[in-house]
């Protein structure tokens, strides 16, 4: 039974599985199968002729590998589910590191642990319904705020912006958000303050801006005093001292996705002069 499925999947994929190591940074397509380094020797591109002699061919060196977004585990095999570039991160200590697909998309799919910006769309009894841009609104308990008790309800109105984290997010269930961490502290989560501007960008841009060595954010930070919130669901909220500055910032952040470094530097220097 299991063999039959394996054969079916193999014929579906059509192409021969490629080694993950050789396609790093290259485009992979959904349905493709990847071989992890320790699987290469057994069935990899080397073929029977070049296979190195092993003392214990039966025993594979087993290391833990994490497959991130865009990849799926199917038994012992690694399948691609999204189109994009294959990325790899070396492990900190031992293990096989992390593989994931760097894809461009606009549709957000809730993921457990992600910090997102949601809009409260309804208050119904004990829970708030929050629109996060996913396929269905997330639920948010009124007790999931810092310092909230049954008697002391948080002051949340319909239309408010919420910065929160997913605790339940899977394909079969309604996603659930909270605004506290495991210790019960807010840590910056909760209702985002008054005013400011919320706009949507692609999910790729959010990741680009939140990368630890992102120059754009550092340059933006030098421009004006400002506050900014990034949601992994592609929403950005900015607030500066004046409306004009807020709008300028929003436009820069939106535009910088498709700008080269030189173009960006030009614009920033022009803005700094004013």
């Amino acid at each position: 039974m299991a063999e039959a499925v394996a054969v079916a999947v193999e014929s579906l994929a059509g192409v021969k599985a490629r080694a993950a190591r050789t396609v790093l940074g290259q485009v992979v397509l959904p349905g493709e199968e990847l071989l992890l380094p320790e699987q290469e020797d057994a069935e990899g591109p080397g073929g029977a002729g070049e296979r190195p002699l092993r003392l214990n061919p039966g025993v594979r060196s087993r290391v833990r590998v994490v497959c991130g977004p865009g990849l799926r585990r199917c038994g012992d095999r690694l399948l691609v589910t999204k189109c994009g570039r294959l990325r790899h991160k070396e492990p900190g200590g031992g293990g096989g590191g992390v593989y994931w697909v760097d894809s461009q998309q606009k549709r957000y799919v809730p993921v457990k642990g992600d910090h997102v910006i949601g809009i409260v769309i309804a208050k119904s009894g004990d829970i708030f319904k929050v629109d996060v841009g996913g396929s269905e609104p997330a639920s948010l308990s009124y007790l999931a705020f810092e310092g909230a008790t049954k008697r002391n309800r948080p002051n949340v109105q319909v239309g408010d912006l919420i910065y929160g984290q997913f605790v339940v997010a899977n394909k079969d269930m309604e996603p659930e958000m909270v605004c506290i961490d495991s210790c019960g502290r807010a840590n910056g989560m909760g209702v985002i303050g008054q005013d400011g501007l919320l706009f949507k960008v692609t999910l790729g841009l959010i990741r680009k801006l939140l990368a630890p060595d992102c120059e754009i954010i550092q340059e933006v930070g030098k421009l004006y005093p400002l506050e900014i919130v990034f949601g992994m669901n592609g929403r950005i909220w900015v607030k500066a001292k004046t409306i004009q500055q807020t709008l300028i910032l929003a436009n820069i952040l939106e535009a910088c996705e498709h700008m080269t470094t030189d173009q960006r530097k030009q614009i920033f220097s022009r803005l700094a002069e004013r």
Binding site: L36, R64, C67, G68, G188, A211, E227
Partner: protein, 160 residues
């Protein structure tokens, strides 16, 4: 002959507690086996091939933030929101494996202030533990500060 004609007791009757004593071991075993059979027949199980789940060495993780070491999503620059700026430092330093232990521990009370405060306390606390006879040594000055007026008698080393 007589044994054959002996009326057989029903199984249900033999299974009763008070009948067990008189039974010989053979019939006892037989009864037990039958009982086991009935139980196992009534036991439900799924008619499926056994699932053999091997330990997998591939772990699924659908979050980008873990893969790419993304920063915390709230930021503030040039003092727009000091609270968030403090939070930013705190949250983003976690990613850097706590390489920089924050030395700048914010002090609510400066060292000098603390020393001054304890200076005044010396008398107050001293009075509390002083005996009645010694209490006269402590007297309040015009500020309400209490300090020992007389120095305690100390041993004077006799001069040769």
């Amino acid at each position: 002959m007589a044994a054959e004609h002996k009326t057989k007791l029903s199984k249900n009757l033999l299974r009763m507690k008070f009948m067990q004593r008189g039974l010989d071991s053979e019939t006892k075993q037989q009864l037990e086996e039958e009982e086991k059979k009935i139980i196992s027949e009534e036991h439900w199980y799924l008619d499926l091939p056994e699932l053999k789940e091997k330990e997998s060495f591939i772990i699924e993780e659908q979050s980008f933030s873990l893969c790419e070491d993304l920063l915390y999503g709230r930021m503030s620059f040039r003092g727009f929101n000091p609270e968030v700026e403090k939070l930013m430092l705190q949250m983003n330093s976690k990613h850097k494996a706590e390489e920089i232990e924050d030395e700048t521990v914010e002090l609510d009370v400066s060292d000098e202030e603390m020393a001054k405060r304890y200076e005044t306390l010396v008398g107050t606390i001293g009075k509390k533990f002083a005996k009645k006879r010694d209490r006269a040594n402590y007297e309040e000055d015009e500020n309400g500060n209490i300090k020992p007026t007389k120095a305690k008698k100390v041993f004077l080393k006799p001069q040769d």
